[in-house]
């Protein structure tokens, strides 16, 4: 907490919003604000399908899987909005339900692990949780390492696998991911089948 007055202002703003919207803040949101160690995450798009906690969770989880470095990460590339579009429009009803249930399990798992909601944790802790989920998912799906045995972790890991799939798909088909992190040529012009990696641009082709 560096700026108490700012925090108070934000709290005040939230209170006003709640009044305007005529809705009460959820207990967990209030807990997060009261703890106040991390700013309420901002959304880069207006969710139409996810509710606000879901949208924030998807946003920060995708940003943890592919963070901003010298190049933009998942959030900068619009991946959270992509994920919402995929889940709300492309997924079948059954997959949508699985995704929502899985997300709830994953949120709860993170809470149990860290004693706070994922979205209010610092980046280091978020990364640690994502790594734990990634390992659990790989163990479960690929038999690499020790698979989780409790239902909540299993469900959280399954959700994470889908979440990671959506995140990398959204990111590496985005302009930032394809052209800045990987390399992309709209019109290669020629084909060279067997050249040194360095002469082929030195990086993975996006397509």
């Amino acid at each position: 907490m560096e700026n108490t007055s700012k925090n108070i202002n934000r709290r005040e703003a939230l209170r006003r919003t709640a009044l305007v919207m005529g809705t009460a803040l959820s207990a967990s949101t209030v807990a997060g604000i009261m703890q106040g160690c991390k700013a309420e995450p901002e959304l880069a798009w207006t969710p139409a399908y996810f509710d606000e906690p879901q949208a924030k969770f998807v946003s920060l989880m995708s940003g943890t899987i592919i963070p901003k470095t010298a190049t933009g990460g998942a959030r900068e590339a619009g991946v959270p909005g992509f994920i919402e579009a995929m889940v709300s429009k492309v997924f079948q009803e059954e997959q949508q339900k699985e995704f929502a249930d899985g997300m709830a399990a994953c949120m709860a798992w993170c809470n149990d692990q860290a004693g706070n909601e994922f979205i209010y944790l610092d980046e280091e802790k978020q990364l640690e949780l994502a790594q734990g989920l990634d390992n659990a998912a790989k163990a479960q799906r690929l038999g690499i390492g020790e698979a989780p045995d409790d239902d909540q972790t299993k469900q959280a890991a399954d959700f994470f696998w889908v979440m990671k799939e959506l995140t990398v798909t959204g990111f590496f088909t985005s302009e930032v991911g394809a052209t800045q992190v990987l390399q992309y040529k709209a019109i290669p012009g020629t084909y060279e089948g067997c050249i040194p990696l360095s002469e082929a641009g030195g990086k993975t082709w996006a397509t």
């Binding site: 994502a130 088909t173 992309y184 040529k185 050249i195």
Partner: protein, 566 residues
Amino acid sequence: MNLNIKAKEQQTYDAIVVGTGISGGWAAKELTEKGLKTLVLERGRMVEHLKDYPTMNKAPWELPYGDRLPAEEAKDYYVQNRTGYTVRQSTKHFWIKDTEHPYTEVKRFDWIRGYHVGGRSLMWGRQSYRLSDMDFEANLKDGVAVDWPVRYSDLSPWYDYVESFIGVQGQNEGLPQLPDGKFLPAMEMNCVEKHVKESIAKNFDDRILTMGRSANLSQNHNGRSRCNYRNLCTRGCPFGAYFSTQSSTMPAAVATGNMTLRPHSIVTEVLYDKEKGKATGVRILDAETGETMEFYAKIVFLNASALGSTWILLNSTSDVFPDGMGNGSGELGHNLMDHHFRVGASGNIDGFEDRYYSGRRPSGIYVPRFRNVNEQRTDYIRGFGYQGGASREGWQRSVAELGVGRQLKEEVTTPGEWRMGLTGFGECLPYHENHVKLTTDKVDKFGLPTFVIDCEFKENELTMRKDMMQSAVDILEASGAKNIQTYDNIGGPGLGIHEMGTARMGRDPKTSVLNKWNQLHEVPNVFVTDGAAMTSAGCQNPSLTYMALTARAADFAVNELKRNNL
């Protein structure tokens, strides 16, 4: 009265071509270039070269939903979607909506279609292989179905002719089972494909690996630009660098001034004059207005696709032809074939970590048929070829192989392992009981009868598949591959999108529908030169053979017209 005569004159041409896909475009080009005023009928909408390729220049991030279809929209494509690759944001406008074109599956049959000018010539895989005498003689030697009425020597000059016009890149290999052709320089193989080619040469004396022969231009050709290695062919090519009706045959037909193209024209039957014993033209249903019209001509070419052409003939009934035009043999609608595929193996190849490629080549490699060529197997007849290729794994490996966070982002920039894949394409025998028939129990939105399709792969195909998988493993093992994975996911017939047969060629009118010139035995001025004509399937991708049969039949038809024989 005068008005009627004039109207009839206006609806009279020298020739009518039904369909504008691979073979229809060829019929249009050949007939118009030989001076025939030709009406070309297409059941679907107009697709103009370049103008109607809305996605041809779209980058990945310009396609919504990562190029996938929303679930609600995908419902319309419940059969087309079975391929797993055809219906995308970038290509959906070229595939029919199954909700609009229903049929009945007695057993699963995946009928994958595009109804528009250019047909599947726009979305085809472009693989272009000749059949050989091993194929043309196969039925006779095996005592299967009926003998082809032609041999390789009949088609060879026509293969030369069509290859020279469309442009096929590839390598001559001097194989009796896969004849050489008139090829543009072959596209290059990548490091691992070259390695597997060498490994095969070292370890096997019955098989080779060659560049897949495809109708992609490796150099400028006939006024068309060479390939620019985007590998986005199925969206329509801004360079006209692969063969399609639009890029190749249609411009040639238009240039003659002899072609009238009429989209939205569903041909419902071929008209027959009992006195003359000939067809007089066709009846159409205008898909936009619902109006019924008739057009007349001296000859009719049916190029509506194997099942499309057979549908028209089965629907052309009269007292002379109660079971469909030209169906005296009872074989019309029978002997439906497709290639069976989706079986093979892939594996990682080490040792080329410092090598990569640049550009996206639009064709893979090919391992021509090597079974039942010299030695005869006892477990199955005929054979298969492999299509495939090697590439380095890309970002798709992130989920299973890479971690998360900054680490993922760094690791993904180095290309992953080299992986070589081989997919078998096998011959399917012509079985009389694999057939289609018309029903009025289910009609389409125009009230027209629909197909009941009853087709399955049988023991010869299923036995062959075991070898298709194992031989792929053998090749990969001989190439030092690791982590070899096999697969066999047969799906339904039709998935190969190589429907063949149902109006087969043959020597005897009692057992076949078409003669050696692709004329209906019973109605000599009606020609069928698409996949319906196939007497057997071979294991090669068949489109090039349709082109050669079409050019040959058109030449014959025009000569016969000149001699007043038609």
